[in-house]
Subunit: 690 residues, 2 copies
């Protein structure tokens, strides 16, 4: 990652980020509002309903935060390696390291279930905007939040109650401008079928992350099972074994996790001045702890690989966001866009009367946000610091408490419709590493004391007379929650079992959860609630001014973006759109993370060096899109999106088609590697059989 | 430290920070421009030249970055424990830990030399403003820097050439508004006489740092030696064994290290948006690495204690600065102050003609600053990441190269007058810990690759085909520079010895120093030079508008601040000015860092629980003032300044007398503890003998 270039590049991004209606190639569009006419006018290709339906039916969401696609009629799913690395880590032991060595098997019988992973295919979208708005009409603050959550919980339960193979989610689009019910066909048995070595998937490591040229085989395959057998999947995409050409039109179908393009200027300022810096400083310290931890032994390195990858990836993402907002030109463009929108609203008396001044309302909330942020973060949103044992305990304790209430009155994550996935994630068997758990928990405890002070009543309640390190050690070493059977007994046993438990982690949560719940309540009533209510009026302003030429901020729901294969030019330097296998061998130094896996050293002479390895497109994507199929107008798979270029990191707040790029690993490279590096003839055959 | 409170408190600071002429109790005044009339008018005490001369003669600067004072006629010097912790660390071994256990000796013969430490007493100040300005008249950029550096080197050499017990420094005050020659009597043999346990000096640790109430015996004593004997020091301050009263007038005489109160708004923006965030993110990661390193073994903990303390202290200081600048109200006040100054200049045609538009000139430099900052930081200003071996190698290589040139043409740190202290610091014997060295060097190498990218020619030159970790390991394990005799041979041997050396660290610096020198040259010519030239004109504007009612930014030279003993009220909560020994015992939990040293547990019943331990005053201080004597109008020592409160952290940019406080450990507490906890009757007698 070239941070120097990035910092200086922001002015360019800002020029285009000011647009409030989408420009060329911009947008993460919902399938029910895709700008087909604009695409046809720009690129001369026709995207009709049949095309959209076909792509939607083959698009897969992974509950672990990624996107994917069905690529054979036997339930085979393409995604990124980095979307299954936690699975590979969970299936590994001190003796068998599927992260380092790859998950390369000879027969389908060796495919292994990924704990906690659920695959979901979107089957329908239903508009509930009027219904939800009616439930919250005239309400504000805590009452608004309560009524909305109850209406959402009821709608989700009603839609999915009779179908245990479905998952239903009410999605707030345009930040409360619309509410839609998304119904998915879910697959809870997802098995790992193929993963390359970490060194191959993530060649260049953190230094090359968000960089281009890149040389990464960031692909993996999983397979959907039901009743112990692969599912039938006639609605799959067609695999293409040859690389795309420059300027070929590309579509990315996937689930961008979240964007903040519609935040008001005052919200962006709070992110810039408070939330981003604090979270980055903590992330950075934890990164240092994990790096040193990894250096202590090969086993430490093995168990921390996945976490460190995720942490460093997050660090770079938020670094990009921070420095985008720190750039006065970038912020200036956001100010201009807001000023323009507000002026247009003001010029329309009818619209103005409906909308009021949500920007001012949100600005007022910012002080409350700042006053409560550190407490909310430390006690609630980032509690546990990544400790699975703590998180299990909190989920068990709260679930037991919440389930004594009617579904609509619970904290929303415990509503009936949400419980099946929570239960699966909680009870699936994943290894717990006590040394890492102690590190995370100790880190969180020490940062909580640091940010809230030693004199805060919550700090005193949490630590008592113990040190953060001593308490973490005691809780982790004494807890039995690493055993899924213990978790299941507590989950099934409800509040009585929880209260009777002598597990120190359960007792710790019982003792310390009150201030966390309290700040959550304050936050919902005084920050989130008022913000959501006002944001819906900002959305109404946008619809009023720009009509349907706007797309909603990303929400980890299915979206389609369009663009083409294209390099870019920045400060006079042109970056070509393609890399090849030959470039990989040139870049390798022999020292990590520029070290080739042994299979690749051995296969060098067998591979066609001109095979297109990775390429870039102008598609507008963001985190969560990882693993998304990149397809052409014929619906053929050209590869899997796995990254953005460095300029795309400000894309959380705005898109600049001249330099923002999606980075894709080509299906051509995957085919060649499966065949010649990994000897996966059966997989290749399955993929290439029409 | 209460970061939540601090973040929210900034609005209050900002209200007063806008003043351009000093307000009540504000200012780090030079002894030749002390506002005695204002002090007399405010507090009714008369500070005359005799008083100033006496205090100056007893005020000591430690070359390691601290302040101190002579407190007996036999060369005894009071400072903070945290000013000698690196000395205590250097004198310790795996078997004898003077940091953990304190340096508590029975006889003067056991006092031990602190490696690298030099004590300095200011003897004269001579104005050289006209002389230096004449040398740079009409010059800009690189030529300006070269001429100024040559004039400074010549003046320092001329003033000190015939006196090897003197140190001469040309100081730029008011950011180039004045140049003064400071001449010091130096003492190169400084011996540790007493230090308490780390747990006593730094009770409450990082969580309580910059907090109040505090319970810290952050005192230590060193003694000045010459010819193997303690120096005679008739000009010492009088020790007072009783605590001050509320509202007692206090003076702090010491060497504040640096402030940025006169930076222009565009400079502050660059600090806020680029320099502070990048340096804090790196500091935070290194902190994480050191914390984990310390957790690995008691020996790791021992050798990293001093470094971790310094790093966490720095983190908190810069955290305070970052969030001061992130506060729009605070920055708004800085904008108002600058607008007011510029308006007053504009209203005065003659002044306006002299001054021009330095604010605009400095604003233009900011883009160049931003474009070069990461490279300058990684390759030059923060090179080596804290590795002593790397730093030794670079100093040896550069000194050998620079000394082939005339003094005035060298990089300024290698001018003749600067060499004696450099030589002492380089050649004094200090332990080197290879594991820590490897950690620092590997960290720096990895961050350099991260921030400059793997494709930068400098990164390629530095790393070649090695990994950061592998290269660090190879250089540290192969280098003999930990041996002072080896360093001395290379220092004395000059360029020939350097070029013939097969030490891998020397060879590494020889191979990689070119891009560092290149960015240094660019930085001096295009950033530092133009900034300095323009800043002198900002200073002229201030003098023109406000006369001598302004004090210069801190420069680690002797300053005097005034104020009184006073608590403060913030958000309705009043913090009392004093703490007592009783409070220490109440706050102790038994868990680090709230654990009492065994001597204090044993002495509890002997101590007077009402003894004033720490107290706060309104004096305006900053880092570098650590160890400064806090004295009353009679010139009696009331204690040693060791900290600021949390509100004072924004003090780098502006002072708010209503909430900014200096934190002092009382001489009363020191006396009681020396007597009853440590059995130091001889020291007590020496201190209290008139």
């Amino acid at each position: 990652m070239n941070m120097l270039k990035f910092v200086s590049s922001l002015g360019l991004v800002a020029v285009l980020a000011s647009a409030s209606a989408a420009r060329a190639d911009e947008g993460m569009w919902t399938f029910d509002n895709f700008p087909s006419a604009k695409v046809e006018a720009t690129y001369g290709v026709k995207i009709d309903k049949a095309w959209l339906d076909r792509v939607q039916a083959a698009s897969v969401r992974l509950s672990t935060g990624c996107s994917a696609s069905l690529v054979s009629k036997e339930g085979l799913v393409l995604t990124n390696h980095h979307c299954v690395v936690d699975c590979a880590q969970a299936l590994s032991t001190a003796k068998t390291d599927f992260v380092k060595d790859g998950f390369v098997i000879a027969t389908r019988a060796e495919e292994r279930k990924c704990p906690g992973m659920q695959a979901e295919v979107l089957t329908s979208i239903t508009d509930l905007t009027d219904q939800i708005n009616a439930a919250t009409k005239g309400l504000s603050g805590a009452a608004f939040v309560k009524a909305r959550n109850a209406a959402v919980a009821a709608a989700e339960s009603a839609a999915c109650a009779k179908d245990d193979k479905a998952r239903c989610q009410v999605v707030s689009l345009y930040r409360g401008g619309q509410f839609k019910l998304y119904k998915y066909r879910k697959y809870a048995d997802v098995r790992l079928a193929f993963a390359p070595e970490f060194a191959t998937a993530f060649f260049g490591g953190d230094p090359d992350n968000f960089n281009f040229p890149r040389f990464n085989l960031d692909v993996a395959f999983v397979r959907l099972y039901e009743g112990g057998k692969p599912v039938k999947s006639p609605a799959h995409l067609t695999w293409r074994s040859t690389a795309p050409k420059l300027d070929e039109v590309t579509f990315v179908s996937g689930n961008p996790g979240g964007t903040d393009r519609m935040l008001t200027v005052s919200q962006l300022q709070t992110q810039r001045d408070l939330a981003l810096p604090v979270s980055q400083l903590q992330r950075s310290e934890l990164r240092g702890r994990l790096i040193q931890f990894s250096a202590e032994s090969p086993e430490h390195k093995r168990i921390a690989t996945d976490m460190l990858f995720g942490l460093e990836n997050g660090f770079k993402v938020y670094f990009g966001r921070q420095f985008a907002l720190n750039d006065p030109a970038f912020m200036g463009a956001k100010v201009s866009a807001e000023t323009e929108l507000r002026a247009k609203v003001a010029a329309d008396p009818k619209l103005s009367a409906t909308v009021g001044d949500p920007w001012g309302d949100i600005a007022k909330v910012q002080k409350v946000y700042a006053d409560n942020y550190l407490r909310y973060r430390q006690l609630e949103s980032a509690a546990g610091g990544g400790s699975d044992l703590y998180w299990h305990a909190r989920e068990l304790v709260r679930a037991a408490q919440e389930r004594t209430k009617p579904s609509g009155e619970r904290l929303p994550e415990f509503a009936d419709a949400r419980l099946p996935l929570m239960e699966k994630e909680l009870l699936d068997d994943k290894p717990v590493h006590p040394e890492l758990e102690t590190l995370y928990l100790g880190f969180w405890l020490s940062k909580t004391r640091e940010y809230l002070t030693a004199d805060d009543p919550a700090t005193k309640l949490i630590l008592g007379k113990e040190s953060p390190e001593g308490l973490a050690q005691r809780l982790v070493s004494g807890s039995k929650l690493g055993d899924p059977a213990v978790r299941k007994a507590l989950w099934d046993g409800g509040l009585a079992a929880i209260q009777a438990s002598d597990d120190p982690m359960i007792q710790f949560v019982l003792k310390t959860d009150a201030p966390a719940r309290e700040i959550r309540k304050t936050w919902d009533a005084e920050v989130a609630g008022p913000t959501d209510a006002a944001a819906a009026r900002v959305a109404a302003a946008r619809f009023g001014v720009y009509g349907d030429a706007v797309y909603p901020d990303a929400t980890f729901t299915l979206r389609l973006s369009y663009g083409k294969v294209a390099g870019w030019t920045y400060r006079g330097v042109t970056v070509p759109a393609f890399t090849t296998f030959a470039g990989l061998y040139e870049r390798a130094t022999g020292a990590e993370p520029f070290e080739l896996a042994p299979r690749w050293i051995a296969a060098k002479d067998k591979l066609n060096p001109d095979t297109v390895f990775d390429f870039v497109t102008t598609n507008d994507i963001i985190g969560g899109n990882s693993g998304s199929p990149v397809i052409n107008a014929k619906g053929e798979i050209l590869g899997a999106a796995f990254d953005g270029n460095i300029h795309s990191l400000g894309g959380n707040y705005g898109y600049d088609g001249s330099i923002n790029r999606t980075v894709v690993v080509s299906s051509a490279a995957a085919t060649e590697a499966l065949d010649k590096v990994y000897g996966q003839a059966a997989l290749v055959k399955e993929l290439t059989t029409k």
